[in-house]
Amino acid sequence: MRILIMLGTICCLLVTPIASAQPIKHQITGLFMPERERDLREVCDKLADIKLVSINYKNAEATFDYVPAKLFPKQTPEQIVQKLDNLLRSASNSTFGVKPRCALPADKLTFVEIPAGGLDCKACCLTAYEAIYKIDGVERATANFRDGKITAWIDSRKTDRPTLETALKNRGVTIGKR
């Protein structure tokens, strides 16, 4: 089913021009806690010519309705992702963004859970999240001050747990015992 959706998305992006709004799925950055779903909806309400259809928190994905040719005329699919990322960032004080969807199947990703201290609120979690999600090989991540856990799905060929822990420590996050 997921493969079908992905193929559908790619097809949608490749067909130009598209005259009417189409549901298009993107991987979202900044969706690190369940409460962030509400934040994303508020941010998307401020965007013109683009409508948030649904959010898949588990996969850090969101489906939007928009007309790529109208919103981002003459752009390649990669450029469209980049433009949408800019749009979302400027609307959210750089707390949300869009990144290319994961090329690796989910079952090939390694799940890492890091117990953390020093996370008092959602903004502290943003700091922890930002410390790791940009690391090459980190496909998805969460950070939650309520359970004190930071999680990541990583490509183990590119990164590993110690790299993540070091990045977190450098941003002031206290790493707890496993």
Partner: protein, 869 residues
Amino acid sequence: MSQPANIYPIAVAILTALACVVPARAQTPFFEKHCHACHDTSSKRGGLDLTALKLDASNAEQFAHLLKIHDRIESGEMPPKNKPRPTAEEKSSSLKTLHDVLVKAESAKLANDGRTRLRRLTRVEYENTMRDLFDMPGLLLQGELPADGSAHGFDNNSDALDISHVNLAKYLKAADHTLTMAIATQPKPPSVTKQRISLANPHGFVAHVLLHGDGVLLKNKQPDPEFPPAGEHMHIDQGAHERMGAFRNGSSVGLFRHEDESFHPYFIEFVTIYPGNYRIRTSLWSFQWDKGKVLLARGTEAARLSIVQLTGDGRGGGHPSTVLGYYDAPSLNEKVHDITTWLNKNEIVGFNAASLAPGANTRGKNRAMGFVGPGIACDYLDIEGPLHDVWPPRAHQILFGDLPLVEFKAKAGTPKRKLVRQEMGAGKNRPDPSLGLWTVHSDQPLIDADRLLGKFLPRAFRRPVTPEIRKQYVAKVEERLKAGECFELAMRWVYRAALLSPDFLYHIEPTEKIDDHALACRLSYFFWRTMPDEKLMHLAALGKLRDGVVLRGEVERLLADGKSQRFVEDFLGQWLKLRSIAATDPDRKLYPEFNMYLQDSTVAETRAYFRELLDKNLDASYLVKSDFALLNERLAVHYGIEGVSGSQIRRVSLPAGSPRGAFLTQASILRITANGTTTSPVPRGAFVLDRLLGQPPEPPPPNIPAIEPDVRGAKTIREQLAKHRDNPSCASCHAKIDPPGFALEAFDVIGGFRTRYRSIGAGDPAPRGKIDPFIGIQFKLGPKVDASGTLPDGREFLAINDYQNLIAADRERLLKNLAGQFAIYGAARNLTFSDRAPIATIVANTNKQGGGIRTLIHELTQSALFQTR
């Protein structure tokens, strides 16, 4: 032509000198009988040889010498008590001889010099005059002007008011600044903006301390669920919190931390662009924080709002500021404070959790979640303005009347306009879009110039201006117009010239008996520290000001006006030296409970008390002893008086036996007369003698070292002074200076009552008493205080209350001194020997009417002493 003019003063001087040399023989019998035994050529006690004395008072040194002898005989201090007393006839005859010599010499001198000489405006007078001349009540100028000197206790005496090229350069700058602010440059007023600001503005100090747990964000009087209090770990990354909108979600800010060297809470998101009146509203409340819970507060706390003048690029803290006021924050019950105030460009509002303990904050392992203690919450600060009820503003209309503002079209003589913009990065408010270059237009410039100057010059010069003078200014306008300047620039040039002229900068009093306009100025500068208003000028023009009833009515009107607070502040600032309140910082180890809230409260007490004496027309004994005090909660706690809540000063009846209330025992006075670490009876005693009793002590002899109190607590100051008094040359003066100082030993450096000295060395552990539980105590209790003493006349006192009773009984002396202080300040000159009789008359007339201080002011203003130059 010039020769007689040169000879005349010399001749006068010679004749004067000759007239003053009275044969010494006339005085000989008294001196021989009562003085020569100690003060002859061989004994020469105190360095005084009366056998060689000539009754010549023509030079200042000799005058002072004879005056001292006169006063010693008059007071009965000489001959000494252990010597035969002169008869009353001997004494009065001797005094009359000396009196006549002194008065004659003084009259001759004053015939040449005058008493009140030409003097310029002081800094305070200059700023107030400019504010009132242009109706810009918050105009700040005096900080840019050179400091004034002081003579005879006050800064408005010509001896203290020199003028140099530095003054002139600063006056030029001040005049330009004022005119730039006054002249409207747009056809409509700036838009009124209303901005709500959180104390936790991004990039600010408060946002930073919230991350560390020295404060919390609150919603509905509970911790904000989206920004929980900092727990064992601080919130990390201020930037991330700002991006997430943690400080923009409408939460209230609860602070546990007092302002300090590294923490300056500012509302930095509104930085004034347009000077003018602004309405400020803020909502405050207090609470008790208990590790994450919000509970009832310990009482009403107080927050301070201040106006901060941003300097440089506006970043950081520690910018100069002035206190706007202290405002109540009741327990869990928000109170909205509504204030309208003038703000200048680049000013913001500052905040301080004033009633919280200084130095106490929550940084520790458990931060806010481990802290139990008081907090002050600020829901918001609304700022609205600039508020203009007329446009162009009054300042502009004073300069240009109702001439229209038009868009400037010509190419030459263009008026200069500085681009209006937000100069401080933190300010979120923005200027209006420019509507182009606008200026004042006149179809008949010289006629309009004549009309405008005809109104402006008499107000600025505080007296009628002759047509000839006005024409000179109009001629300058014509000259500038011919040089190609537009009407606005030409007029600006002459207005600036007027503001730099002696007619504006100086108090002009042309005749010996000052004319009505000069009298109007004297009254206005006495009670308002500024130019006379329209009514005073009108009465002066009608020649009615010397009518006793009219004059009395005007004095009442001036005192009832809000501007008379300037008199209260300026007079007390100098008479009781309140200007020096911050000259020393109390030692933090010895006096950890001291903070700015206490300091400002002590100053407010002294001002409010003086106002109460005036309003209630109380007698002079209240200068040193009172049955009421003017207190707020902070002061009441400091004085150990129960039942006072809140930050506002109010009248409180004192319990029987309380020494508080009067100036003598007010914390401000006790602070000013101490050095921040220790007290000494010498400066305190000298202060009481000089400022309250009117008997300034002689300066200390050369080569006598000052006594340094022992802060280790090993030896009391009294023990050290006892040794000092063994020296006969010190004993006579210290017999007068020390007693009031000994009585005031009952109070410490910050005006707290004490029975034992505080020590940072040896001593017993100090009980906390009323000191805030969040303040650490390091000092110990050293030797016991002995506040007893003996007056020079032999009367003894055991404690401060006894001393108060003794000097309060001498109402005459207290009133006489106050009359002198008012006279020096109001007439802007020192009192001379020949003023003693008029002062005695003023005091006598006051006493006949009950001896009230307001009555004293009326008697003074009605007197020839006040109404002559």
